[in-house]
Protein backbone atom coordinates (compact mmCIF):
# COMPACT_ATOMS: atom_id res chain seq x y z
CA UNK A 1 0.00 0.00 0.00
CA UNK A 2 1.41 3.36 -0.96
CA UNK A 3 0.69 6.37 1.20
CA UNK A 4 0.83 9.88 -0.16
CA UNK A 5 1.81 13.04 1.62
CA UNK A 6 -0.09 15.98 0.18
CA UNK A 7 2.70 18.45 0.95
CA UNK A 8 5.35 16.43 -0.86
CA UNK A 9 3.00 15.78 -3.76
CA UNK A 10 2.29 19.51 -4.07
CA UNK A 11 6.00 20.33 -3.81
CA UNK A 12 6.84 18.01 -6.73
CA UNK A 13 3.93 19.25 -8.86
CA UNK A 14 4.72 22.92 -8.14
CA UNK A 15 8.35 22.38 -9.08
CA UNK A 16 7.36 20.70 -12.34
CA UNK A 17 5.01 23.52 -13.31
CA UNK A 18 7.65 26.13 -12.48
CA UNK A 19 10.09 24.30 -14.71
CA UNK A 20 7.55 24.06 -17.56
CA UNK A 21 6.93 27.78 -17.37
CA UNK A 22 10.61 28.46 -17.95
CA UNK A 23 11.15 25.83 -20.63
CA UNK A 24 10.78 27.24 -24.13
CA UNK A 25 10.39 23.70 -25.52
CA UNK A 26 7.48 22.81 -23.26
CA UNK A 27 5.79 26.19 -23.61
CA UNK A 28 6.21 25.91 -27.38
CA UNK A 29 4.75 22.40 -27.42
CA UNK A 30 1.81 23.43 -25.22
CA UNK A 31 1.07 26.60 -27.16
CA UNK A 32 1.75 25.69 -30.78
CA UNK A 33 0.82 22.02 -31.08
CA UNK A 34 -2.86 22.43 -30.10
CA UNK A 35 -3.39 25.14 -32.70
CA UNK A 36 -1.71 23.02 -35.37
CA UNK A 37 -4.09 20.19 -34.52
CA UNK A 38 -7.07 22.57 -34.57
CA UNK A 39 -6.49 23.74 -38.14
CA UNK A 40 -7.46 20.50 -39.87
CA UNK A 41 -10.77 19.92 -38.00
CA UNK A 42 -11.81 23.52 -38.59
CA UNK A 43 -11.01 23.35 -42.28
CA UNK A 44 -12.98 20.10 -42.56
CA UNK A 45 -16.09 21.27 -40.74
CA UNK A 46 -16.13 24.68 -42.40
CA UNK A 47 -15.87 22.99 -45.79
CA UNK A 48 -18.99 20.92 -45.21
CA UNK A 49 -21.68 22.38 -47.38
CA UNK A 50 -25.18 23.16 -46.13
CA UNK A 51 -26.71 20.33 -48.16
CA UNK A 52 -24.29 17.55 -47.14
CA UNK A 53 -26.04 14.50 -45.69
CA UNK A 54 -26.05 13.87 -41.93
CA UNK A 55 -24.08 10.60 -42.26
CA UNK A 56 -21.24 12.40 -44.05
CA UNK A 57 -21.27 15.15 -41.45
CA UNK A 58 -21.11 12.56 -38.65
CA UNK A 59 -18.05 10.93 -40.25
CA UNK A 60 -16.29 14.27 -40.61
CA UNK A 61 -17.08 15.27 -37.04
CA UNK A 62 -15.85 11.85 -35.85
CA UNK A 63 -12.53 12.57 -37.54
CA UNK A 64 -12.46 15.94 -35.81
CA UNK A 65 -12.82 14.25 -32.41
CA UNK A 66 -9.97 11.91 -33.19
CA UNK A 67 -7.66 14.76 -34.14
CA UNK A 68 -8.62 16.70 -31.02
CA UNK A 69 -7.81 13.67 -28.86
CA UNK A 70 -4.29 13.56 -30.25
CA UNK A 71 -3.53 16.65 -28.18
CA UNK A 72 -4.01 15.07 -24.71
CA UNK A 73 -2.22 11.97 -25.98
CA UNK A 74 0.87 13.65 -27.41
CA UNK A 75 1.56 16.71 -25.24
CA UNK A 76 1.87 14.92 -21.88
CA UNK A 77 3.91 12.14 -23.50
CA UNK A 78 6.51 14.68 -24.56
CA UNK A 79 6.61 16.17 -21.09
CA UNK A 80 6.62 12.82 -19.28
CA UNK A 81 9.36 11.42 -21.47
CA UNK A 82 11.61 14.20 -20.18
CA UNK A 83 10.59 13.81 -16.55
CA UNK A 84 13.07 11.20 -15.30
CA UNK A 85 15.85 11.16 -17.88
CA UNK A 86 15.85 14.96 -17.79
CA UNK A 87 16.38 14.92 -14.02
CA UNK A 88 19.17 12.40 -14.44
CA UNK A 89 20.69 14.55 -17.19
CA UNK A 90 20.69 17.64 -14.96
CA UNK A 91 22.03 15.72 -11.96
CA UNK A 92 18.92 16.54 -9.93
CA UNK A 93 17.61 13.00 -9.60
CA UNK A 94 20.02 11.90 -6.89
CA UNK A 95 19.34 14.83 -4.52
CA UNK A 96 15.61 14.32 -5.09
CA UNK A 97 15.80 10.62 -4.26
CA UNK A 98 17.74 11.25 -1.05
CA UNK A 99 14.80 13.13 0.46
CA UNK A 100 11.90 11.42 2.27
CA UNK A 101 9.74 11.66 -0.86
CA UNK A 102 8.22 8.32 -1.91
CA UNK A 103 8.40 7.11 -5.47
CA UNK A 104 4.62 7.25 -5.80
CA UNK A 105 4.67 10.89 -4.71
CA UNK A 106 7.31 11.76 -7.31
CA UNK A 107 5.38 9.98 -10.05
CA UNK A 108 1.98 11.34 -9.09
CA UNK A 109 3.34 14.86 -8.62
CA UNK A 110 4.94 14.78 -12.05
CA UNK A 111 1.82 13.21 -13.58
CA UNK A 112 -0.49 15.86 -12.10
CA UNK A 113 1.74 18.62 -13.38
CA UNK A 114 1.57 17.15 -16.89
CA UNK A 115 -2.06 16.03 -16.96
CA UNK A 116 -3.73 19.19 -15.69
CA UNK A 117 -2.41 21.58 -18.37
CA UNK A 118 -2.75 18.94 -21.11
CA UNK A 119 -6.36 18.15 -20.34
CA UNK A 120 -7.16 21.82 -19.85
CA UNK A 121 -5.72 22.57 -23.28
CA UNK A 122 -7.72 19.66 -24.77
CA UNK A 123 -11.01 20.88 -23.26
CA UNK A 124 -10.37 24.48 -24.29
CA UNK A 125 -9.56 23.30 -27.80
CA UNK A 126 -12.78 21.29 -27.99
CA UNK A 127 -14.80 24.24 -26.69
CA UNK A 128 -13.15 26.52 -29.25
CA UNK A 129 -14.00 24.16 -32.10
CA UNK A 130 -17.64 23.97 -30.95
CA UNK A 131 -17.90 27.76 -30.62
CA UNK A 132 -16.24 28.39 -34.00
CA UNK A 133 -18.47 25.77 -35.63
CA UNK A 134 -21.50 27.45 -34.09
CA UNK A 135 -20.39 30.81 -35.50
CA UNK A 136 -19.05 29.85 -38.90
CA UNK A 137 -20.13 26.33 -39.99
CA UNK A 138 -22.56 26.49 -42.89
CA UNK A 139 -24.16 23.12 -42.16
CA UNK A 140 -26.31 23.23 -38.97
CA UNK A 141 -25.88 19.45 -38.45
CA UNK A 142 -22.21 20.04 -37.64
CA UNK A 143 -22.98 21.87 -34.41
CA UNK A 144 -25.65 19.40 -33.31
CA UNK A 145 -23.31 16.45 -34.04
CA UNK A 146 -20.45 18.07 -32.15
CA UNK A 147 -22.73 18.69 -29.19
CA UNK A 148 -24.10 15.14 -28.98
CA UNK A 149 -23.97 13.75 -25.46
CA UNK A 150 -21.92 10.63 -26.26
CA UNK A 151 -19.31 12.71 -28.10
CA UNK A 152 -18.96 15.15 -25.23
CA UNK A 153 -18.77 12.29 -22.73
CA UNK A 154 -16.13 10.60 -24.86
CA UNK A 155 -14.10 13.81 -25.04
CA UNK A 156 -14.50 14.41 -21.31
CA UNK A 157 -13.46 10.87 -20.39
CA UNK A 158 -10.93 10.04 -23.05
CA UNK A 159 -8.85 13.21 -22.75
CA UNK A 160 -7.65 12.58 -19.15
CA UNK A 161 -7.45 8.81 -19.66
CA UNK A 162 -5.38 9.13 -22.81
CA UNK A 163 -3.21 11.67 -21.04
CA UNK A 164 -2.85 9.20 -18.13
CA UNK A 165 -1.71 6.48 -20.52
CA UNK A 166 0.71 8.80 -22.30
CA UNK A 167 2.25 10.01 -19.06
CA UNK A 168 2.65 6.44 -17.79
CA UNK A 169 4.28 5.29 -21.00
CA UNK A 170 6.41 8.42 -21.26
CA UNK A 171 7.57 8.05 -17.66
CA UNK A 172 8.36 4.36 -18.15
CA UNK A 173 10.48 5.16 -21.20
CA UNK A 174 12.08 8.08 -19.39
CA UNK A 175 13.01 5.87 -16.44
CA UNK A 176 14.92 3.51 -18.71
CA UNK A 177 16.26 5.88 -21.38
CA UNK A 178 19.72 7.37 -21.29
CA UNK A 179 19.06 10.19 -23.74
CA UNK A 180 16.41 12.88 -23.48
CA UNK A 181 15.67 13.15 -27.21
CA UNK A 182 15.31 9.40 -27.72
CA UNK A 183 12.99 9.26 -24.72
CA UNK A 184 10.81 12.02 -26.13
CA UNK A 185 10.61 10.44 -29.59
CA UNK A 186 9.74 7.02 -28.19
CA UNK A 187 7.31 8.53 -25.71
CA UNK A 188 5.41 10.37 -28.43
CA UNK A 189 5.12 7.23 -30.58
CA UNK A 190 4.11 5.02 -27.67
CA UNK A 191 1.34 7.41 -26.71
CA UNK A 192 -0.57 6.86 -29.94
CA UNK A 193 -1.87 3.21 -29.81
CA UNK A 194 -4.85 3.94 -27.53
CA UNK A 195 -6.05 6.39 -30.15
CA UNK A 196 -6.90 3.34 -32.25
CA UNK A 197 -9.64 2.57 -29.74
CA UNK A 198 -11.03 6.06 -29.91
CA UNK A 199 -10.77 5.95 -33.70
CA UNK A 200 -13.32 3.11 -33.73
CA UNK A 201 -15.77 5.37 -31.95
CA UNK A 202 -14.83 8.50 -33.85
CA UNK A 203 -15.30 6.85 -37.25
CA UNK A 204 -18.50 5.17 -36.09
CA UNK A 205 -17.21 1.65 -36.62
CA UNK A 206 -18.79 1.44 -33.22
CA UNK A 207 -21.81 3.72 -32.87
CA UNK A 208 -21.07 6.34 -30.24
CA UNK A 209 -23.54 5.99 -27.41
CA UNK A 210 -23.25 6.83 -23.71
CA UNK A 211 -22.73 3.15 -22.94
CA UNK A 212 -19.98 2.76 -25.56
CA UNK A 213 -18.20 5.93 -24.41
CA UNK A 214 -18.44 4.78 -20.81
CA UNK A 215 -17.32 1.26 -21.67
CA UNK A 216 -14.28 2.43 -23.59
CA UNK A 217 -13.58 4.91 -20.83
CA UNK A 218 -13.52 2.11 -18.27
CA UNK A 219 -11.32 0.04 -20.57
CA UNK A 220 -8.83 2.88 -20.86
CA UNK A 221 -8.95 3.37 -17.10
CA UNK A 222 -8.08 -0.31 -16.56
CA UNK A 223 -5.16 -0.02 -19.01
CA UNK A 224 -3.99 3.13 -17.21
CA UNK A 225 -4.09 1.42 -13.81
CA UNK A 226 -2.07 -1.56 -15.09
CA UNK A 227 0.44 0.72 -16.80
CA UNK A 228 0.91 2.85 -13.68
CA UNK A 229 1.57 -0.26 -11.63
CA UNK A 230 4.27 -1.21 -14.11
CA UNK A 231 5.78 2.27 -13.95
CA UNK A 232 5.75 2.22 -10.15
CA UNK A 233 7.63 -1.08 -10.17
CA UNK A 234 10.16 0.37 -12.60
CA UNK A 235 10.69 3.45 -10.46
CA UNK A 236 13.21 1.81 -8.21
CA UNK A 237 15.82 4.05 -6.58
CA UNK A 238 18.71 1.69 -7.30
CA UNK A 239 17.70 1.18 -10.91
CA UNK A 240 17.30 4.90 -11.45
CA UNK A 241 20.75 5.63 -10.06
CA UNK A 242 22.74 2.73 -11.50
CA UNK A 243 20.56 1.46 -14.33
CA UNK A 244 20.22 -1.98 -12.69
CA UNK A 245 18.07 -3.51 -10.01
CA UNK A 246 19.65 -4.60 -6.73
CA UNK A 247 21.11 -8.07 -6.95
CA UNK A 248 21.46 -10.66 -4.23
CA UNK A 249 20.23 -9.77 -0.78
CA UNK A 250 18.71 -6.38 -1.18
CA UNK A 251 18.43 -5.19 2.38
CA UNK A 252 19.48 -6.58 5.72
CA UNK A 253 16.58 -8.67 7.04
CA UNK A 254 14.90 -7.26 10.09
CA UNK A 255 16.50 -3.91 9.56
CA UNK A 256 20.07 -5.18 9.92
CA UNK A 257 20.76 -3.29 13.10
CA UNK A 258 24.06 -4.13 14.75
CA UNK A 259 23.19 -4.84 18.37
CA UNK A 260 23.68 -2.12 20.90
CA UNK A 261 23.89 0.86 18.61
CA UNK A 262 20.26 1.45 17.65
CA UNK A 263 19.73 4.85 19.08
CA UNK A 264 18.37 8.09 17.71
CA UNK A 265 20.90 10.83 17.96
CA UNK A 266 19.99 14.34 19.00
CA UNK A 267 19.73 17.01 16.36
CA UNK A 268 22.35 19.69 16.21
CA UNK A 269 21.29 23.12 17.35
CA UNK A 270 20.84 25.88 14.86
CA UNK A 271 17.96 25.65 12.47
CA UNK A 272 15.43 24.01 14.75
CA UNK A 273 13.45 20.84 14.31
CA UNK A 274 11.76 19.68 11.16
Amino acid sequence: MIGFDGGRLAAVARKEIREYRRSPFIIGTMAVLPFVFMINPLVVIFAIGATVKAATVARAVGGTFLVLLIVPAVIPATIAAYSVVGERDQGTLEPLLTTPVRRGEILLGKALAAIVPSVTVAYVLFALVVVLAHLFASNPTVVSTLSEGPHILAEALFAPLLAGWSIAVGTAISARASDVRIAQQLGTMASLPPLAVTALVSFQVITPTFAVALGFGLGLLAIDVVMWRVVLAMFDRERLITGARAQGRAWAPGGGAPPGVVRRIPRAGGTGGA
Partner: protein, 330 residues
Protein backbone atom coordinates in the same frame (compact mmCIF):
# COMPACT_ATOMS: atom_id res chain seq x y z
CA UNK B 1 53.23 -3.28 6.36
CA UNK B 2 50.03 -3.92 8.22
CA UNK B 3 47.05 -1.73 7.77
CA UNK B 4 46.23 0.57 10.64
CA UNK B 5 42.96 -0.45 12.18
CA UNK B 6 42.25 2.24 14.73
CA UNK B 7 38.53 2.60 15.17
CA UNK B 8 37.64 0.28 12.33
CA UNK B 9 36.23 -2.49 14.47
CA UNK B 10 32.73 -3.58 13.59
CA UNK B 11 30.00 -1.77 15.51
CA UNK B 12 28.76 -4.97 17.13
CA UNK B 13 32.04 -5.00 19.04
CA UNK B 14 31.57 -1.46 20.29
CA UNK B 15 30.37 -0.37 23.64
CA UNK B 16 27.04 1.42 23.65
CA UNK B 17 28.22 3.90 26.26
CA UNK B 18 29.88 7.26 25.72
CA UNK B 19 29.21 9.61 22.86
CA UNK B 20 26.25 8.76 20.68
CA UNK B 21 26.97 7.11 17.36
CA UNK B 22 25.84 8.85 14.21
CA UNK B 23 26.90 6.07 11.86
CA UNK B 24 27.71 2.46 12.59
CA UNK B 25 28.68 0.27 9.67
CA UNK B 26 29.36 -3.44 10.07
CA UNK B 27 30.84 -5.63 7.33
CA UNK B 28 28.96 -3.74 4.64
CA UNK B 29 29.42 -5.00 1.07
CA UNK B 30 27.99 -3.86 -2.22
CA UNK B 31 28.35 -5.80 -5.44
CA UNK B 32 26.99 -5.14 -8.91
CA UNK B 33 26.98 -8.57 -10.48
CA UNK B 34 30.61 -9.71 -10.54
CA UNK B 35 31.96 -6.30 -9.71
CA UNK B 36 32.58 -5.42 -6.09
CA UNK B 37 32.09 -1.74 -5.33
CA UNK B 38 33.17 -2.09 -1.69
CA UNK B 39 33.59 -5.05 0.59
CA UNK B 40 33.47 -5.81 4.30
CA UNK B 41 33.55 -2.18 5.34
CA UNK B 42 33.18 -1.48 9.05
CA UNK B 43 33.54 1.78 10.92
CA UNK B 44 31.72 4.09 13.26
CA UNK B 45 31.30 7.84 13.25
CA UNK B 46 30.52 9.67 16.46
CA UNK B 47 27.86 12.31 16.63
CA UNK B 48 29.32 15.73 15.81
CA UNK B 49 32.40 14.26 14.14
CA UNK B 50 33.73 15.38 10.77
CA UNK B 51 34.72 12.09 9.18
CA UNK B 52 36.80 12.02 6.01
CA UNK B 53 36.34 9.21 3.52
CA UNK B 54 39.27 9.01 1.13
CA UNK B 55 40.24 6.74 -1.68
CA UNK B 56 41.28 6.63 -5.32
CA UNK B 57 38.80 6.83 -8.19
CA UNK B 58 36.59 3.74 -8.27
CA UNK B 59 37.39 2.87 -4.66
CA UNK B 60 33.70 2.75 -3.75
CA UNK B 61 33.37 6.04 -1.87
CA UNK B 62 30.33 7.36 -3.71
CA UNK B 63 28.70 3.93 -3.70
CA UNK B 64 29.19 3.81 0.07
CA UNK B 65 27.52 7.20 0.43
CA UNK B 66 24.68 6.10 -1.82
CA UNK B 67 24.23 2.92 0.19
CA UNK B 68 24.21 4.73 3.53
CA UNK B 69 21.89 7.30 1.96
CA UNK B 70 19.42 4.46 1.14
CA UNK B 71 19.73 4.89 -2.62
CA UNK B 72 21.36 1.49 -3.05
CA UNK B 73 20.65 -1.74 -1.20
CA UNK B 74 23.70 -3.34 0.39
CA UNK B 75 24.55 -6.85 -0.77
CA UNK B 76 25.46 -7.88 2.76
CA UNK B 77 26.36 -6.40 6.10
CA UNK B 78 24.45 -3.89 8.15
CA UNK B 79 24.50 -0.29 9.22
CA UNK B 80 22.78 2.15 11.50
CA UNK B 81 22.36 5.63 10.07
CA UNK B 82 21.38 8.46 12.41
CA UNK B 83 20.29 5.87 14.93
CA UNK B 84 18.05 4.01 12.50
CA UNK B 85 18.85 0.54 11.13
CA UNK B 86 19.52 0.62 7.40
CA UNK B 87 16.67 -1.22 5.75
CA UNK B 88 14.22 -0.66 2.94
CA UNK B 89 11.39 -0.21 5.40
CA UNK B 90 13.34 2.50 7.22
CA UNK B 91 14.39 4.30 4.04
CA UNK B 92 11.99 7.21 4.34
CA UNK B 93 12.76 7.74 8.02
CA UNK B 94 16.53 7.64 7.42
CA UNK B 95 16.23 10.09 4.55
CA UNK B 96 14.31 12.42 6.86
CA UNK B 97 17.27 12.45 9.27
CA UNK B 98 20.11 12.87 6.80
CA UNK B 99 21.04 14.99 3.86
CA UNK B 100 23.25 14.14 0.93
CA UNK B 101 25.04 16.60 -1.28
CA UNK B 102 26.43 14.78 -4.31
CA UNK B 103 29.50 16.01 -6.18
CA UNK B 104 27.20 17.86 -8.56
CA UNK B 105 24.89 19.79 -6.22
CA UNK B 106 22.01 18.98 -8.56
CA UNK B 107 20.11 22.23 -8.47
CA UNK B 108 17.19 22.85 -10.80
CA UNK B 109 18.85 25.42 -13.00
CA UNK B 110 15.60 26.89 -14.36
CA UNK B 111 14.42 27.61 -10.84
CA UNK B 112 15.64 30.34 -8.52
CA UNK B 113 17.66 29.51 -5.41
CA UNK B 114 14.56 30.26 -3.32
CA UNK B 115 12.39 27.95 -5.47
CA UNK B 116 14.93 25.15 -5.15
CA UNK B 117 14.84 25.60 -1.39
CA UNK B 118 11.03 25.66 -1.36
CA UNK B 119 10.92 22.36 -3.21
CA UNK B 120 13.17 20.63 -0.71
CA UNK B 121 11.46 22.30 2.26
CA UNK B 122 8.24 20.79 0.91
CA UNK B 123 9.81 17.36 0.42
CA UNK B 124 11.07 17.40 4.02
CA UNK B 125 7.69 18.65 5.24
CA UNK B 126 9.27 21.54 7.13
CA UNK B 127 7.17 23.76 9.33
CA UNK B 128 7.69 27.50 8.78
CA UNK B 129 9.70 26.82 5.63
CA UNK B 130 10.36 30.48 4.80
CA UNK B 131 12.19 31.09 8.05
CA UNK B 132 14.18 27.88 7.63
CA UNK B 133 15.10 28.72 4.07
CA UNK B 134 16.21 32.21 5.10
CA UNK B 135 18.30 30.72 7.89
CA UNK B 136 19.95 28.15 5.61
CA UNK B 137 20.75 30.77 2.97
CA UNK B 138 22.13 33.09 5.62
CA UNK B 139 24.39 30.31 6.88
CA UNK B 140 26.01 30.05 3.46
CA UNK B 141 25.88 33.82 2.80
CA UNK B 142 23.56 33.44 -0.14
CA UNK B 143 20.48 35.33 1.00
CA UNK B 144 21.15 38.19 -1.43
CA UNK B 145 21.05 35.73 -4.38
CA UNK B 146 17.83 33.97 -3.34
CA UNK B 147 15.89 35.29 -6.32
CA UNK B 148 18.54 34.49 -8.89
CA UNK B 149 18.08 31.60 -11.27
CA UNK B 150 20.50 28.83 -10.38
CA UNK B 151 21.78 28.72 -13.95
CA UNK B 152 23.12 32.26 -13.43
CA UNK B 153 25.21 31.27 -10.41
CA UNK B 154 28.92 30.44 -10.53
CA UNK B 155 30.01 26.93 -9.62
CA UNK B 156 31.08 28.08 -6.17
CA UNK B 157 27.73 29.73 -5.52
CA UNK B 158 25.90 26.63 -6.73
CA UNK B 159 27.93 24.58 -4.28
CA UNK B 160 26.91 26.95 -1.51
CA UNK B 161 23.28 26.70 -2.60
CA UNK B 162 23.64 22.91 -2.49
CA UNK B 163 24.98 23.15 1.03
CA UNK B 164 22.11 25.42 2.06
CA UNK B 165 19.68 22.86 0.67
CA UNK B 166 21.46 20.11 2.61
CA UNK B 167 21.08 22.16 5.79
CA UNK B 168 17.35 22.70 5.40
CA UNK B 169 16.18 19.62 7.28
CA UNK B 170 18.67 20.15 10.11
CA UNK B 171 20.22 16.76 9.38
CA UNK B 172 21.68 14.51 12.03
CA UNK B 173 24.21 13.28 9.46
CA UNK B 174 25.29 15.22 6.40
CA UNK B 175 26.98 13.37 3.54
CA UNK B 176 29.12 15.64 1.40
CA UNK B 177 30.51 13.96 -1.70
CA UNK B 178 33.50 15.89 -3.08
CA UNK B 179 32.05 19.28 -2.06
CA UNK B 180 35.04 21.26 -3.36
CA UNK B 181 35.53 19.36 -6.60
CA UNK B 182 36.23 21.81 -9.41
CA UNK B 183 36.19 24.86 -7.16
CA UNK B 184 38.86 27.52 -7.23
CA UNK B 185 40.90 27.97 -4.01
CA UNK B 186 38.80 30.88 -2.77
CA UNK B 187 35.49 29.04 -3.30
CA UNK B 188 36.98 25.87 -1.79
CA UNK B 189 38.05 27.84 1.26
CA UNK B 190 34.52 29.17 1.68
CA UNK B 191 33.21 25.60 1.64
CA UNK B 192 35.87 24.64 4.21
CA UNK B 193 34.70 27.48 6.44
CA UNK B 194 31.13 26.25 6.10
CA UNK B 195 32.12 22.72 7.06
CA UNK B 196 33.99 24.07 10.08
CA UNK B 197 30.84 26.00 10.93
CA UNK B 198 28.86 22.76 10.78
CA UNK B 199 31.34 21.11 13.12
CA UNK B 200 30.88 23.94 15.61
CA UNK B 201 27.12 23.40 15.46
CA UNK B 202 27.57 19.72 16.20
CA UNK B 203 26.48 18.40 12.80
CA UNK B 204 27.99 15.05 11.88
CA UNK B 205 29.68 15.38 8.50
CA UNK B 206 30.67 12.43 6.34
CA UNK B 207 33.03 13.97 3.81
CA UNK B 208 34.34 12.15 0.77
CA UNK B 209 37.18 13.96 -0.92
CA UNK B 210 40.22 13.57 -3.14
CA UNK B 211 41.84 16.58 -1.53
CA UNK B 212 44.03 15.21 1.19
CA UNK B 213 45.02 18.59 2.58
CA UNK B 214 41.30 19.30 2.86
CA UNK B 215 40.73 16.10 4.81
CA UNK B 216 43.71 16.84 7.04
CA UNK B 217 42.48 20.33 7.76
CA UNK B 218 38.82 19.53 8.30
CA UNK B 219 38.43 15.98 9.55
CA UNK B 220 38.61 14.63 13.05
CA UNK B 221 39.25 11.17 11.64
CA UNK B 222 39.73 9.79 8.16
CA UNK B 223 39.16 6.42 6.56
CA UNK B 224 40.98 5.28 3.44
CA UNK B 225 38.97 2.99 1.21
CA UNK B 226 40.12 1.02 -1.75
CA UNK B 227 37.22 -1.39 -2.18
CA UNK B 228 38.16 -2.61 1.30
CA UNK B 229 38.79 -0.25 4.17
CA UNK B 230 42.56 0.25 4.47
CA UNK B 231 42.64 2.34 7.58
CA UNK B 232 40.65 4.51 9.94
CA UNK B 233 42.06 6.96 12.43
CA UNK B 234 43.10 10.47 13.29
CA UNK B 235 45.58 11.85 10.74
CA UNK B 236 48.33 12.14 13.36
CA UNK B 237 47.72 8.54 14.50
CA UNK B 238 48.00 7.33 10.93
CA UNK B 239 51.25 9.24 10.42
CA UNK B 240 52.65 7.88 13.67
CA UNK B 241 51.78 4.31 12.85
CA UNK B 242 53.14 4.37 9.32
CA UNK B 243 56.23 6.54 9.58
CA UNK B 244 59.05 6.82 12.09
CA UNK B 245 59.51 10.29 13.45
CA UNK B 246 62.69 12.03 12.36
CA UNK B 247 64.79 15.17 12.60
CA UNK B 248 66.49 16.75 9.61
CA UNK B 249 69.77 18.42 10.55
CA UNK B 250 71.18 20.81 7.98
CA UNK B 251 74.79 21.95 8.37
CA UNK B 252 76.80 24.66 6.65
CA UNK B 253 79.30 21.95 5.61
CA UNK B 254 79.41 18.14 5.87
CA UNK B 255 80.53 16.78 9.24
CA UNK B 256 83.92 15.15 9.23
CA UNK B 257 82.81 12.39 11.62
CA UNK B 258 79.04 12.28 11.88
CA UNK B 259 79.06 8.88 13.61
CA UNK B 260 80.88 10.47 16.55
CA UNK B 261 78.17 13.11 16.88
CA UNK B 262 75.00 11.09 16.36
CA UNK B 263 75.87 7.65 17.75
CA UNK B 264 74.77 7.11 21.33
CA UNK B 265 72.74 10.33 21.41
CA UNK B 266 69.73 9.96 23.70
CA UNK B 267 66.57 9.33 21.70
CA UNK B 268 68.37 8.88 18.38
CA UNK B 269 67.75 5.45 16.85
CA UNK B 270 69.87 5.90 13.73
CA UNK B 271 70.87 8.35 11.06
CA UNK B 272 71.34 8.60 7.32
CA UNK B 273 72.97 11.06 4.98
CA UNK B 274 72.74 11.54 1.25
CA UNK B 275 76.32 12.76 1.10
CA UNK B 276 75.49 16.45 1.37
CA UNK B 277 75.50 18.51 4.52
CA UNK B 278 72.04 17.26 5.59
CA UNK B 279 71.39 14.34 7.95
CA UNK B 280 68.16 12.55 8.78
CA UNK B 281 67.96 11.19 12.33
CA UNK B 282 65.38 8.58 13.34
CA UNK B 283 64.07 9.58 16.76
CA UNK B 284 61.46 8.47 19.25
CA UNK B 285 60.50 11.99 20.26
CA UNK B 286 61.89 14.98 18.37
CA UNK B 287 61.32 17.32 21.33
CA UNK B 288 63.48 15.14 23.56
CA UNK B 289 66.20 14.39 21.02
CA UNK B 290 66.69 17.86 19.46
CA UNK B 291 68.40 19.62 22.44
CA UNK B 292 70.99 16.83 22.87
CA UNK B 293 71.72 16.71 19.16
CA UNK B 294 72.15 20.48 19.05
CA UNK B 295 74.55 20.43 21.99
CA UNK B 296 76.58 17.63 20.39
CA UNK B 297 76.81 19.50 17.08
CA UNK B 298 77.92 22.73 18.77
CA UNK B 299 80.46 20.79 20.86
CA UNK B 300 81.82 19.28 17.64
CA UNK B 301 82.29 22.81 16.25
CA UNK B 302 79.77 22.33 13.46
CA UNK B 303 77.85 25.25 11.94
CA UNK B 304 74.18 24.31 12.32
CA UNK B 305 71.86 25.86 9.74
CA UNK B 306 68.62 24.24 10.92
CA UNK B 307 67.14 21.34 12.85
CA UNK B 308 63.58 20.51 11.87
CA UNK B 309 61.15 17.71 12.50
CA UNK B 310 60.05 15.86 9.37
CA UNK B 311 56.30 16.21 8.94
CA UNK B 312 54.63 13.44 6.99
CA UNK B 313 51.44 14.64 5.45
CA UNK B 314 48.20 12.74 5.13
CA UNK B 315 49.12 12.49 1.47
CA UNK B 316 52.22 10.48 2.47
CA UNK B 317 50.00 8.16 4.51
CA UNK B 318 47.54 7.84 1.65
CA UNK B 319 50.20 7.13 -0.98
CA UNK B 320 51.96 4.66 1.30
CA UNK B 321 48.75 2.69 1.88
CA UNK B 322 47.57 2.83 -1.70
CA UNK B 323 51.01 1.89 -3.03
CA UNK B 324 51.04 -1.14 -0.75
CA UNK B 325 47.60 -2.15 -1.92
CA UNK B 326 47.72 -4.92 -4.52
CA UNK B 327 44.28 -3.89 -5.83
CA UNK B 328 45.53 -0.39 -6.57
CA UNK B 329 48.38 -1.75 -8.67
CA UNK B 330 46.12 -3.86 -10.87
Amino acid sequence: MSVVDAGSSAPDELSTGGASTALAVAHLTKRFGDRTAFEDVSFTVASGEVFGFLGPNGAGKTTTVRTLGTLLAPTSGSAVVAGIPLSEANGTEIRRQISVMPENPGLYLRLTVQENMELFAGLYGLHAPRARIAQALETVNLESRARDLCRDLSKGLRQRAGLARALLNDPAVMFLDEPTSGLDPVAAREVHDLINGLRQRGVTVFLTTHRLEEAERLCDRVAILNTRLRTVGRPEELRGSLFRRSLVVEMAAPLSAPEDVFTNQVGVQGWTSDGTAAYVLSVDDPRLAAPGVTRALVAAGADVVSITETRHSLEDVYLQLIDEDPEARR
